[in-house]
Symmetry: C3
Subunit: 137 residues, 3 copies
């Protein structure tokens, strides 16, 4: 069994952002030498997600619209009594999901034709981390 | 370490459908010979999900009602400027989640008493794929 | 390759509850002896979830408010024709997600600074189970 663990760091300029990370993950998989295995991609901060979907600008707008409709940014969260203002970001992470497990087959990410991996930031403008862990042989 | 990768193909007659795939996955796990491990089931197309829940017709209707309420089919998605009409399907996949990791214990899927695995199609009537990858020993 | 499978049992006093299980999982990881691997935590009953987020009481209230808004408890689910009254609980599990895969690095859970793991119960007051399966070396 072989494993490799690396961390991707992000500090987005905007509070909310989508960053395509498929290539960075593919490079880690290649460095790992794993031919058959799994690659976990998981957002380590609790106001960010990992999203596997299409790299299409209109769809990204639709995602933001959906999340703003279901868990809007606003002042009325109980979490804000702690002094935070990011209650919506915790809920957005919950709805999108904070991780993906990518199959590695024959040494490559085994993704569908349109699957791209994104880091989804809901409360950025500070340094945050994603773990990428490859396990296999 | 042992691994086996297979792909399930779907071409649903209806645009939206739930297809129970627990038995097909169990057969792949058996073929793999893995006694202790993980079985990843992941929808490779970005308008489909994998859902682990009850095989009960009423509940399935409740799921469709929920998804139609939260991310309705309609003409008003930014994604549609590309000529597509399936913006809702991308969002439904996001809310349901596109994969499940099934534990394999003593050579069998280690599921709860009512857990059944479904392929959830949100934009069907064409050939689409799910990867099933078993890893363990 | 090494693996260890254990089951956590819950019987919450309230119908809906969040139970922090990070320490119980860390103890299982330690017992497994795995230094590099994955730890799957998955709710085996279809009206419960696993949630990785902040251990902050206000945020927990915000989560309950969100779920009650998106998939309210009520009498009007098709699933209830079977005699059940927990249609909302199945949908809440769907929105939150029923599992998390935790990375194990250097013999420890490799979580972010605020990541805590919770069992989320949506229809409790009876015995229900979570599988914890560690795989690695």
């Amino acid at each position: 069994m072989t494993s490799l663990t690396e961390y991707l760091w992000f500090e987005t300029k905007q509070r909310r952002d989508l960053v395509r990370i498929t290539d960075a993950i593919a490079a880690i998989v290649e460095r790992s030498g794993v031919r058959e295995g799994f690659c976990l991609v998981s957002a380590m901060h609790i106001t960010a997600s990992v999203w596997v979907n299409d790299d299409e600008r209109g769809l990204h707008q639709d995602l933001w619209d959906l999340l703003e409709r279901l868990a809007p940014f606003g002042p009325d969260y109980s979490h804000h009594r702690t002094g935070e203002d990011n209650g919506d970001a915790h809920l957005k992470r919950t709805l999108v999901g904070h991780q993906a497990l990518l199959p590695v087959t024959d040494g490559k990410l085994d993704l569908g034709p349109w699957e791209q991996v994104f880091y989804a930031e809901f409360d950025g403008q500070r340094r945050k981390r994603v773990i990428v862990k490859v396990l296999g042989e």
